[in-house]
């Protein structure tokens, strides 16, 4: 049962694996990228419903990834993953058009809930 294609961008392997293991059983097609540049390349070749991106990454950070996606693929919902929540980054992310943000460490239920909400909004639009 194909629910939607989801791209996870994070420099931490364990986060990528956790997301995959949490989302795949729920029927999501999960693809992963180890950094922002790779993620953007994948976006150019494949169509995604939702992108989850870490905030702090080498080379290209989550805010920059968010900005590029908003510019090029405005219909993709972006969810920010933060190592720790700060008011500014959260506000900045939401202002730049992120759908939501999720704090590490998150449980499978939490990430599923956020993804569900994002897809729900996307289908409503």
């Amino acid at each position: 049962m194909e629910k939607g294609k989801i791209l996870i961008i994070d420099d931490e392997d364990i986060v990528l694996r956790s997301c995959q293991r949490a989302l795949s059983p729920a029927g999501y097609d999960v693809r992963v990228a180890k950094n922002g540049i790779d993620g953007l390349k994948m976006l150019e070749t494949e169509a995604f419903a939702v992108v989850l991106t870490d905030l702090k990454m080498p080379d290209l950070d989550g805010i920059e990834v968010l900005r590029r996606i908003r510019e090029t693929w405005p219909d993709i919902e972006v969810i920010i993953i933060t190592g720790y929540q700060t008011v500014e980054t959260a506000v900045k992310a939401i202002k730049l058009g992120a759908f939501d943000y999720i704090e590490k460490p998150f449980s499978p239920e939490q990430i599923l809930s956020v993804i569900r909400n994002a897809i729900e909004r996307r289908t409503k639009q």
Binding site: I14, S18, K56, V87, P105, S107
Partner: protein, 526 residues
Amino acid sequence: MKTHVKKTLNSLTGKLILTIGTLMVAGSTIFWYFLIQHQEKELLRNSIKYGDSFIDFVEKSTRNGMLTFQQILIQQTVEAIGSAEGIIRIRMVDGKGRIAYSSIKEEKGTMLDKSESLCMLCHSKSGESVKMQSSSIKMGKDGYRVLNILHPIYNEPACYTSYCHAHPKEQGILGFAEADISLSILDKAIKKQEIAITAYVIGFICLLSVILCTILWNLVSTPLSILTHGMERVAAGELDYTVKIDTGDEMGDLARAFNAMTFDLKKAKDELVEWGNTLEKKVEEKTEEIKKAQTKLIHSEKLASLGRMAAGVAHEINSPLTGIVTFGHLLRDKFPEDSQEREDVEVIIEQANRCSNIIKGLLGFARATSAEKGLININDLVNSSLNMVQHKADFFDIKVVLNLDESLPPLRVDASQIQQVFLNMIINAADAMEGKGTFTVTTRKVVENGSSFAEVEFNDTGHGIMEENIPKLFEPFFTTKPVGKGTGLGLAVSHGIIQDHGGRIRVKSELGKGTSFFVRLPYYEG
């Protein structure tokens, strides 16, 4: 003794007495001399006057005898008068220089010695006749002075018309009457008077000197020595010493001026000493302040580096924790409900979440610097904070009392940070009360050092805090809660936040009775 006299003579009083004494002696001597001279002259003048009267008397007594040419009678009269006391000699000399009559019989009929003053009087210059009587004073044989009176006897009609025709009409002066009168009585009187006056003058000088000395001693010397003594005492540092001279004269003025000066000196010295003391105290206070500021700086630097470290650690640790939590959940769902394995995995997930909470607490430091301030009603913040926790099981049996001052103005604060502080206070109170008791929140206005603050008091009826723990309350990682319940960061973070807002947190606690936390925030002056 000798030096004492010298000292006295050198003193002001000595000099004054010496000067005035010398002037007095000189003045008295001059006065004495002129008085005596005057007296003597006066007496002598009177004596000459009496001498003249006397010779006049002799002439008149012998006039009848002369006119009737009764030589024996004349001689007898002259002898009789000459025998009187004090009369040394009376004689009458004719124009040829023959002594016609004399009280000294032997002289009668003899010629005058040409050198005698009597002759010299008439014949000093050739042909010049004597105009009038004369008087002179010479020394007598007995040592007393003798007054010599010489009186010319003029020719008159009764003389040249007398039957004896002894004198022709042309003759001007017929002869001389001469008297030597002893001045012994006068000399004796003068001597007596001289002695008396001298005695009086000496007595007067002595008396005056004694009076002068006494006056000078009392008016000058005594007050001066009192003043000198006082100055020596003051110079030796005895600034409480006052000179006691209560006279209304210049000495009194001097003493009063001196006392005023000593008083001012003491005041100035006291001020100086006090200034020195307070300076020391001020330096101590400043040093203490600097030490405190330094400690605070070190403390805040520590917190800042801790915050930076926490941020880094949070980023690194939260990713593996995500793995633990996610895979824990996946693993848990593989075990049936109520199985031991499922319970074990629950523990793993729970502990991973605890790690995450510790990290969140640490992050409070990093966040304290990134405040977003707005004008917020403090009472609203208290209410919303309470609403967030009141529905929790920990609060079911706790009575919450609110005493909120509705007149408090809005404050410029970061609402989420202040709410974090309030939540901390509320959760700590609930923990301390262990589920039962009364929790009172009071807001009020306080004024300290002219600045206004809003104060929120969180009072619980919990177990209280041990006195030795109070200073450590705001240190990071200090906790009295059981392991796993508190991170020891809540109050440290709260303290940092409130300090960042220009306020402070105070604690008042009594073991067994409860604790009050006072959170004070400054009024917004914009």
